[in-house]
Every structure is written in structure tokens, then in C-alpha cells.
């Protein structure tokens, strides 16, 4: 995970903080999820 997001970034940061953006190379999984369910979370 450090190689993708840098040092000090945890799984919790990635999953709950929408300010962290994924590199293009690892976006396949979120894109697959979005193609079957596009509902966004509510604040």
C-alpha cells in the first residue's frame, strides 16, 4: 500500500478518506464496483 499511496497511509485512510485518489493503474476494482452499483454514500 505504501508503494501506491506513500508512507504513512493506512487502509482506513484509503477507505474512509475520499481525498485520497487512486493511481490509474489500480482503479480497475473501484470502476468495476461502480459499473454495478453507482450509489454514493450519504454524508
Amino acid at each position: 500500500m505504501r508503494d501506491v499511496y506513500g508512507a504513512g497511509v493506512t487502509a482506513k485512510d484509503v477507505l474512509k478518506d475520499n481525498r485520497i485518489t487512486a493511481p490509474v493503474t489500480v482503479r480497475a476494482f473501484p470502476e468495476a464496483l461502480g459499473s454495478y452499483s453507482s450509489r454514493n454514500a450519504t454524508k
Binding site: 477507505l15 475520499n18 493503474t25 473501484p30 464496483l33 453507482s38
Partner: protein, 304 residues
């Protein structure tokens, strides 16, 4: 007594006064031009002397400046010579070290002046190789995680597109997070092990989050033999389920909060099981493992 005697005295005084005035004026007129000329001459001579003195001072200053410049040049040449000597000493030391390294037992490097360059070139090449290796390793890790994301996406699409056995759309719509662990390997003979890697993503206000990567590992004890590769898809229905995933105590297949999710047209969103479950699990296996006893599988976020 002569009555003309006072008149004669006055006449004489007047005549003398006029004569004296004329003589004084003449003398003044005679001397005045000569004084102006002398003053002019003196001023001219003083100017000439001042100019001569200024010229002399200028020449002296020029001479001194030349001396200073020459002194600076001599100093500069001295500094340059010192630097050159220091560089020469440094090169000599490098050459001496390289020669010593080349003449060490077991070394096939020939001693000589060329070895200094060879030594430096070798060190430079080594540093460059290490730098390139580090970059390549980071790129490999990134490529590895990209492959992990691609594999998870493929497994998820395949499960979703399985006719009558896919994950119900309404359940997926209620899930807050989805994790996919493709090809989790379980194998063993009495004592077994399980391992694999997975990807998770959660809903955010702007869509699905960036993927987080997890590594699974665990073991099982009991009568078992064989090997099995299983794809796991887990729906985390609320934040409690996500918290259990983020905690390092989450057990794949053994957690009480994990329930087997309904598939296909069993739109079981209204069942008690689905309403109370934090996590719904889906799996498909290849191969077989018989009679697993106690089993557990903890996970670790990232590459560990």
C-alpha cells in the same frame, strides 16, 4: 608787512596738494597694472604647480595601483598553485587506494593509474545500479498491486454476471464496502494453511473509494487433505463490518458476523439474516478440501 603773504601760502599749499595728488595717482597707476600682472602670473604659476603636483600624485597612485594589482596577481597565482597541489594530492591518494585495492590478494584488478578511474567508475556503476534497482522494485510493487486490483475486478464481474447465482443487485446497493479476495489458497494435510491477497473499496460521497490492499493468512487443524482455491467476495453492510475488516482480528470464514449471502433471485434483503449481518460472504471454489476443523484466517492491511 605784505598783505599778499597769506594768499601766497594758500596758493603754495594748493599747488603742492595738486602736485602730490598727481604724483600719487601716477604712482598708483604705474604700480596697479604691475600688481595685477604679478597676481596673474602668480596664479598661473600656482596652477601650473598644482597641475604638476596632481600629475605627480596621479603617477604615484598609478604606480601604487599597479603594485597592488601585481601583488594580487601574485597572490592569486599562489592560491591557484595551492589548489592545484591539493587536487594533485587528492588524485594521488585515490590512485594509491585504488592501487592497494588492485594489488590485494585475490583481486584481478591490475595496479596502475587507470585503476583510479576504474575504481570510481565501479563505485558509480554500483550506486546507479542500486538506484535503478530501487525504482524497479517500487515499480514492481505498484504493478503487483495493479494486477491485484485487475484480478479482483475480474472476479467480481464474473460472480456478478453468473446467471441466477450472482450477488443480488439490491444487496450490493445496500453494501457500504466490498472486498474481494481472489484465489485464496487453502491446502494442508491435517495441518492446513490459507493465504491470499485482497482488495477492498468503500462508498464515499464521490463514488467508490481508492482500493485498499489486504493480505490474508491463517491456519487450520484437523482431518483434512487436499488443496483448494477460493474466490471470496464480501459485502460490508455497515460501518461495524468495515471496522471488523480494518481490525487485525477479522477471520475469513470464521467470524460470527459473517453470513453466507443469498444469491441469484433470492432477493433476501428483507430476511433477518441479511438485516442483522454485518458482512455477507460469497465464494466459489476450485478443487476440494475435506472436513476442515478449526480454522481461522486473519488479515493484514498493506504488504506487511
Amino acid at each position: 608787512m605784505n598783505p599778499d603773504t597769506p594768499r601766497s601760502s594758500a596758493y603754495g599749499f594748493t599747488t603742492g596738494l595738486l602736485t602730490g595728488t598727481c604724483i600719487g595717482a601716477g604712482l598708483a597707476l604705474w604700480f596697479a597694472p604691475r600688481s595685477a600682472a604679478e597676481i596673474g602670473t602668480r596664479v598661473t604659476e600656482a596652477g601650473k604647480r598644482l597641475g604638476q603636483r596632481a600629475s605627480a600624485e596621479y603617477r604615484q597612485a598609478g604606480i601604487h595601483a599597479g603594485d597592488v594589482v601585481e601583488e594580487l596577481a601574485r597572490t592569486g597565482r599562489g592560491v591557484r598553485a595551492d589548489v592545484a597541489r591539493a587536487v594533485a594530492r587528492g588524485a594521488h591518494e585515490v590512485e594509491r587506494v585504488a592501487t592497494a585495492a588492485g594489488s590485494a590478494p585475490g583481486s584481478d584488478v591490475k595496479a596502475g593509474p587507470v585503476n583510479a578511474r576504474s575504481f570510481v567508475s565501479t563505485i558509480g556503476a554500483l550506486i546507479l545500479a542500486l538506484a535503478v534497482g530501487s525504482v524497479a522494485q517500487a515499480q514492481e510493487h505498484l504493478t503487483d498491486e495493479a494486477s491485484q486490483s485487475d484480478k479482483a475486478a475480474r472476479v467480481f464481474r464474473e460472480i456478478m454476471d453468473t446467471p441466477d447465482k450472482g450477488i443480488p443487485q439490491d444487496l450490493l446497493g445496500k453494501a457500504e464496502c466490498v472486498a474481494v479476495f481472489p484465489s485464496v489458497i487453502q491446502a494442508g494435510f491435517i495441518v492446513g494453511g490459507r493465504g491470499g491477497r485482497g482488495v477492498a473499496s468503500c462508498r464515499t460521497v464521490e463514488g467508490w473509494s481508492a482500493p485498499a490492499f489486504f493480505t490474508l493468512g491463517g491456519g487450520s487443524i484437523g482431518l483434512q487433505i487436499g488443496a483448494q482455491s477460493t474466490d471470496f467476495v464480501m459485502l460490508f453492510m455497515n460501518t461495524d463490518g468495515l471496522d471488523s475488516l480494518l481490525s487485525n482480528e477479522f477471520t475469513l470464514g470464521g467470524d460470527a458476523s459473517v453470513a453466507a449471502g443469498p444469491v441469484g433471485r433470492q432477493a433476501g434483503a428483507s430476511t433477518d439474516l441479511v438485516l442483522t449481518a454485518k458482512i455477507l460472504s460469497y465464494s466459489r471454489s476450485k478443487g476440494s478440501v475435506r472436513r476442515p476443523r478449526a480454522q481461522g484466517c486473519s488479515h493484514q492491511a498493506g504488504r506487511g
